[in-house]
Amino acid sequence: MRTTRSAALLLGAALIVAACGGPGGGTASAPQSSASGDSVQAALDAGGSITVWAWEPTLEKVVTDFQAKYPKVKVNLVNAGTGNDQYTALQNAIKAGSGVPDVAQVEYYALPQFALAKSIADLTPFGADKLEGTFTPGPWGSVRSGGAVHGLPMDSGPMALFYNKEVFDKHQIEVPKTWEEYIEAARKLHEADPKAYITNDIGDAGFTTSMIWQAGGKPYQVDGTNVTVNFADAGTQKFTAAWQQLVSGKLVAPVGSWSEAWYKGLGDGTIATLVIGAWMPANLESGVKAGAGKWRVAPMPQWEAGGQATSENGGSSLAVPEASASKALAYAFMKYAAVDEGAQSRADNGAFPATTAQLNSPAFLDKKLPYFGGQQVNQVLAQSAGQVVSGWSYLPYQVYANSIFNDTVGKAYVGDATLQDGLKAWQDASVKYGQEQGFSVR
């Protein structure tokens, strides 16, 4: 199944480049008809039907509320797959020219791929550029490129340290504030209980890039179709030097994230911490019932004592495919879901908002979560949202690059290769692929 999946993914990757028509077209955004807020309102008044592809569970209620408010509009919400599965489907539909949705959920890391291929529309004609300040800087930076806005941030994943307080208390381990302390805690914990690990890691592209992001590394530089990939910069090396100690010392559990074993480890205390995005509380509550009352949230460990740097991990936007025939109506729904009433409804239902209004509201910040022993976790998470290191960008073919992460960097987790070697191999493979696709990659 895995091979057929990646075969489908490869097909998708080949298709976008075909849709891209080769680079060289630059990023000249065609001056579109002067649609504005008025055209969006007009579309709402006229009504119609749109199809939304998304897997985010909180959108169901948003769709119901939206249709109640605008009875003339019919929103057909379809879960067309999660992540890669949906991107493949979307690219196939775009290539085939039929069955393209009007709105699609696209994770931040995948957005540049669709944007550069011009598969998704620039939203500035609808007034999206005026939303600056509505969203926190991390997600807003992820949907912008040049003067264009390619999606509206739906949620965000500023990183924090989730830890099992029961395990920490039992072995009298201090909650680490720096990565040095984190490695120390990893040693202490594993010595005290050989079955317990500080965290799990078998190679995860999203996690690795987020860690490099926090360390100040900027391995990807993207200017239109000119791309630089460089995993030798200081930030990357800071990360690999530290993380290599955990991998070489066998101090991380050899368990893949989101697997059954992972959920089990989170529940029984053998995986003691997660450095992960702020959307995690909802997953812990529903998937790790055995951990109720044991978990707490602390700020992400720092590279320098007293530092205040974080990064984003995961999170998605809503985007409008260029092939949609009802862009104004699609935008109206997106704005409702991401900015207006929908943002509040989704935050109430456990999504971590990307909007400053929800993020700074006392009701959100002061909420005490019973799962976390009554801790006001949103205070920690919202603080992290304001400390995201700026200037990060993903590759315009990050979906493909992430799919080969385990073939390259993954080797560092099972063999003699180091993380730095693995990243070099990933870099080479990414450069090669980019050149084959017609990018100018160095």
Partner: protein, 300 residues
């Protein structure tokens, strides 16, 4: 099955024909026993784990029961989760199987009979095409088929699953070979002499003779359609048209989503419910199936 049957009759056999006792091979019995355990183990695992709650799944040994027996509540939850979508997927799968596999069997029977019993120019070419088609895996055709169906505007509809399922080169080949042996030319000749038209001959005379072969082909196509994953994955977007395979996969994927609910216990129970109809079909049709496979191996 044969092992237990043999054991049951052992005293009789021993008394009447003691010599046969020596022909029983310990090595072979051991090997088949290992094979039996190997094939039944996943099934046992599935049965055992379908009886656990999600917490029980994480907290207990995989090949034995957890403290709480939750099979029935799991089944109830599976059938009602997310507005009872599982039942919808089950009905979709049945629809694809009845129309797709049923249609494929009918087409294979008619075409196989025609190829076996009538001479016409180009028969060798047809044979070459069919043999060639058997060699092409369906997976390789999924993407071209998708582009073709997209051109017809049929993707994301049940037709995108049913129409490709109608084609079964292997079934056609099997029916061809089977019909050549199972329906003697003399019977067809005498039917013709008695004044029967070709269709009458086919339905009244040949079809009953072909039934073991038909059941065999039916079983093959039913299993292939029931388990089809890749074609629906490529063709369908709307979960309302998913077959069980895709539906279970989407439940499994939920656990890897921010904000998604992990429902491993329902995935496992759903998998068990998914294979029950297949097992039932095999047990019920097994007699025909065996005689179908043996066809042509003995000349009378």
């Amino acid at each position: 099955m044969t092992a237990t049957a043999r054991r049951r009759h052992k005293p009789l056999v021993v008394r009447r024909r003691p010599a046969r006792r020596h022909r029983r091979s310990v090595t072979l019995t051991l090997l088949t026993s290992i094979m039996l355990v190997y094939t039944l183990l996943p099934l046992a695992w599935l049965l055992i784990n379908a009886s656990k709650t999600q917490e029980g799944l994480f907290g207990s040994f995989g090949l034995w029961f957890a403290g709480d027996f939750a099979l029935f509540s799991n089944i109830a939850d599976t059938l009602t989760y997310d507005g009872g979508i599982f039942t919808r997927w089950l009905l979709n799968t049945l629809l694809y199987v009845i129309l797709g596999a049923g249609g494929a069997t009918a087409l294979a029977t008619i075409a196989g009979y025609g190829l076996a019993k009538f001479d016409f120019p180009g028969k060798k070419a047809v044979f070459a095409v069919v043999i060639g088609a058997v060699a092409v895996p369906g997976t390789a055709l999924a993407v071209p088929t998708f582009l073709m169906f997209a051109g017809l505007g049929l993707t994301d509809t049940p037709w995108a699953i049913i129409i490709p399922s109608l084609i079964s080169p292997f079934g056609l080949y099997l029916m061809w070979i089977y019909a050549a042996d199972a329906v003697p030319d003399e019977i067809i000749e005498s039917a013709r002499v008695d004044g029967a038209r070709e269709f009458q001959t086919f339905f009244r005379v040949s079809l009953p003779l072909l039934s073991p072969g038909i059941v065999t082909v039916l079983l093959f196509t039913v299993v292939a359609t029931w388990n089809n994953y890749f074609l629906p994955l490529v063709m369908l977007r709307d979960p309302d048209w998913y077959p069980l395979t895709l539906g279970l996969d989407s439940w499994n994927a939920q656990a890897a989503t921010a904000g998604g609910e992990a429902v491993f216990n329902l995935v496992i129970t759903g998998s068990l419910l998914t294979i029950v109809p297949l097992i039932a079909a095999f047990l019920l049709l097994q007699r025909y199936w065996q005689s179908g496979l043996a066809a042509g191996s003995v000349k009378e």
